[in-house]
Symmetry: D2
Subunit: 309 residues, 4 copies
Amino acid sequence: MEAVNRAELAGKLAEIEHRMRQAEVRGAVASYIPELAKVDPARFAVAVALPDGTVLQAGDAATPFSIQSISKVFTLAIALGRLGDQLWSRVGREPSGLAFNSILQLEQENGIPRNPFVNAGAIVVTDAILAGHQPRAVLGELLHFIRLAAGDDDIHINRAVAVSEQATAHRNIALAEFMAAMGNLRNPSALTIGTYVHQCAVEMTAIQLARAGLFLVNAPGCPRLVAPARIRRINALMMMCGHYDGSGEFAYRVGLPGKSGVGGGILAIVPGRASIAVWSPGLNTNGNSKLGTEALEHLARATGWSVFG
Amino acid sequence: MEAVNRAELAGKLAEIEHRMRQAEVRGAVASYIPELAKVDPARFAVAVALPDGTVLQAGDAATPFSIQSISKVFTLAIALGRLGDQLWSRVGREPSGLAFNSILQLEQENGIPRNPFVNAGAIVVTDAILAGHQPRAVLGELLHFIRLAAGDDDIHINRAVAVSEQATAHRNIALAEFMAAMGNLRNPSALTIGTYVHQCAVEMTAIQLARAGLFLVNAPGCPRLVAPARIRRINALMMMCGHYDGSGEFAYRVGLPGKSGVGGGILAIVPGRASIAVWSPGLNTNGNSKLGTEALEHLARATGWSVFG
Amino acid sequence: MEAVNRAELAGKLAEIEHRMRQAEVRGAVASYIPELAKVDPARFAVAVALPDGTVLQAGDAATPFSIQSISKVFTLAIALGRLGDQLWSRVGREPSGLAFNSILQLEQENGIPRNPFVNAGAIVVTDAILAGHQPRAVLGELLHFIRLAAGDDDIHINRAVAVSEQATAHRNIALAEFMAAMGNLRNPSALTIGTYVHQCAVEMTAIQLARAGLFLVNAPGCPRLVAPARIRRINALMMMCGHYDGSGEFAYRVGLPGKSGVGGGILAIVPGRASIAVWSPGLNTNGNSKLGTEALEHLARATGWSVFG
Amino acid sequence: MEAVNRAELAGKLAEIEHRMRQAEVRGAVASYIPELAKVDPARFAVAVALPDGTVLQAGDAATPFSIQSISKVFTLAIALGRLGDQLWSRVGREPSGLAFNSILQLEQENGIPRNPFVNAGAIVVTDAILAGHQPRAVLGELLHFIRLAAGDDDIHINRAVAVSEQATAHRNIALAEFMAAMGNLRNPSALTIGTYVHQCAVEMTAIQLARAGLFLVNAPGCPRLVAPARIRRINALMMMCGHYDGSGEFAYRVGLPGKSGVGGGILAIVPGRASIAVWSPGLNTNGNSKLGTEALEHLARATGWSVFG
């Protein structure tokens, strides 16, 4: 990998923003959560946090957006901290080869979701954290973790988004109830899904999200919230499963562990070097940010940051 | 990542060999190819090739074994060199979530295999190279490529293994004929499968295989058979799909791009640093070398070579 | 078909009962609904209702049992009476090739269940009847229909069974919520499933059930609750889908339209001739009464009542 | 069922022919077998054979057409005569819920096809008859059986159709090779598929086909080629599986055991009463004759011949 000059990097981010602003095909904003459907598809942000805390940025990097499924990275870190490898008796570690909200593999594989990043798996992770606690306490712990990672207390849950998502959560409830039927849910589905939609409704700016990802960079100066061996494993899971059935494509084009959210954000980790957040609300057919992926592809090529050589 | 001292590395390889020799649960040697079923399950080898051409090793590293599906890495490199991105109209780039020899996804996805490393995908790659050539010429080109990569002309195809595999190739013929029915095969299935079983019957020692992998390391001193951008992409595919439905597990435990073969070999790439070959004939339930994976897990932990931080 | 002498038929029923009482392998009583798990597996009943109202019987034919999925025949008749062919925009008419409670076909076929007798399909039927009504009113209409068909007002819902089933209804709720997500549910799932578990908890004796089936026999003297063309269609659906993924086996062995329930009951129709109810609580692997099926096989052979010649 | 007057029946057939001739939407003629694609879509025939040997007819009832999958009924009868219930260890008796040429269920169910009428199942049946015989001898036996049933020696195999089908038989070869891999094929796939495509290429007129179906009617006067108990079972299989994933629809609309062929023919059995053949080359989306099904629906309604009351 090539060394990266900060001034060059800042210039590269500006260039990427310029290019993405002009893109005509921007993907479709998620429509199944009414509150998210209102977001302006012209928004674009990119932010790079370095281990020393510096953040380089371009675009709407100070505008909060709904992190949605990116929250799964934080709940996974919390769940592994609480349960350790016991978590793996309830959820697998393999790519699914199917859509993020698919239910059929649950039937074929006895109610054990394929990985913690498809919806069913993330619901299990949330259910595991809930055990014996109130949703309010769990959501408090999540916010505490994210704020600590980001070094910023001004991070909140958007209740309107949570309520909006709750109203159309039929498919997630179906996943939860199906797992309950197979003995893989510990709390009432209403409690688990209620917590889940609130966790997805966390709002962060690209700057905050890039900073919050530093705990996965594993370099001197980064917050030490998780042991190095676990960092490597979470990054491996992000690489393999972070973009649902588009994970292979993301690895092929970008070459970094990443996690996308239906709000149009992506968090990508450059092990040992940087944490990157991008945001563009339009999605591709796999439900990942279309321009966000393109921006990361440009950035990885320009910096030589791909983990693949 | 930590710097690696060669003496320490040699010591580590010796220690790993010692440990693997004593393992009691060694997995089951592949039985569906009669010639492979004869191999002694007590065999073990590990070899690490560095960019300057040095090879460190332990165990039966000078004993040839059948590389089987590891050959798919070399045919993919050849096919991309010949067809470039056109290849991707005939085969995808996503993990399958299914067994290496599964046929059902072909039916659900119009005869387009999920990736070049499941059997159906590798058959398409071989079929693509064949177009307009004789099997003999294609196999000659493959051997030429491998010998060049390894810097060693003493690499051959074991005809007895090829004949043995041909006799039980019903499932691969079924995959080929199914793709023919969907318009995704250009040659008679007998020709394509005949070439395919011979490509799988290439025999190499761990030393040769480790050397042959250097063209994917992308460091000064390594053979330059493929452009850097393509190296990154092949490594990405190995990471995502190189161990079939155990790819997530391999990424989680080892953290390196790798490709396994049913003969018990695994080739793993450390981008910028090294190429590793391991060999232990016993397989786990996903068809990947059981002790080979464990050896790589030990080695990656000891060296800090995981790409994930 | 041979003419059937009533005395001979009565003798045959007695012989069948004797034989079934002595069977050692009786199948397993359904365990997932706690109240049903308490039923004595030694119970056995058979009753044959003729168009003139005569009922011949043997065994525990006056003991009420939970009709469970047999109720789906009555709700289908009511739904077709109310909606006519509009119902078929929400549910199909083909065998499923899968278990009664499978969810995966819903995902592959856009939330449209395969037929009205798999759980998902029956839930849609109940949901269709509910529209604009209170569960209490719908259950009242169902009881009215059954009582009229049976000519017997002493038919009721066992609330304890309904409550017991409600408590373990996760999988049915998952089916309902999944269909809600696909736009194929009109009422809150709690309302639809609440009604559904009560409809399944109707209790009838074999005598009552045999009589209640006469409306599908289409012969002079039978209650005329449904037009002949619709009778033929309901019988066709019972033949094709009435025993889930064991429907082919039932047709092969018995040769009559039938509908089974997890309580161990089966209603079978002999078009133009008779309605038969059998009850034996032990189930085979497809969830159909094991001895009930055997009893019907004996009876069909002795009477020549198979519709297949 | 109503008694049927022959003059009225003849009039009804003429009326049906008239109506079908005028239909504008006729379905699409099968295109994947080049020889079949040449057939005139305007052709239409209907013939009814009664137990006394009388045949009533309308349309092109003396024009030979390719019976294709209708041949599966005759090979099943032969296989059951030769092997009895042993056949059922290699093929099931349930509807598949999938297309006629689907391969995925083979993978999920260990190479055992769902029933003898989907392609995979019919290939197993042919493979079972072949054992120890030459294809020529087996095809001779098939022709002998059909000629005997039809009381007509002028029934032959169209070699041009067989050759045409052989050239595009990739999918059937895939099915055969997949079953070979699972241990469910006894002969080389080339031999079994070669026999299979010839069996499908038998040509018959509607008159001949209606007569040939009489052995399944089970009434005095009909040829006695199969015992009554077996007749009932073959009819049950035709009802449940004779129209692939459109079997439910056929039962719902027509209410008779039937078997369709991709050449546009359908054989339907009225147990105890008649054998019916229809022919119209255009197919519906499930691969069954579109107008042939409609004609049978009209005929069944007019005669009251549905087995469902």
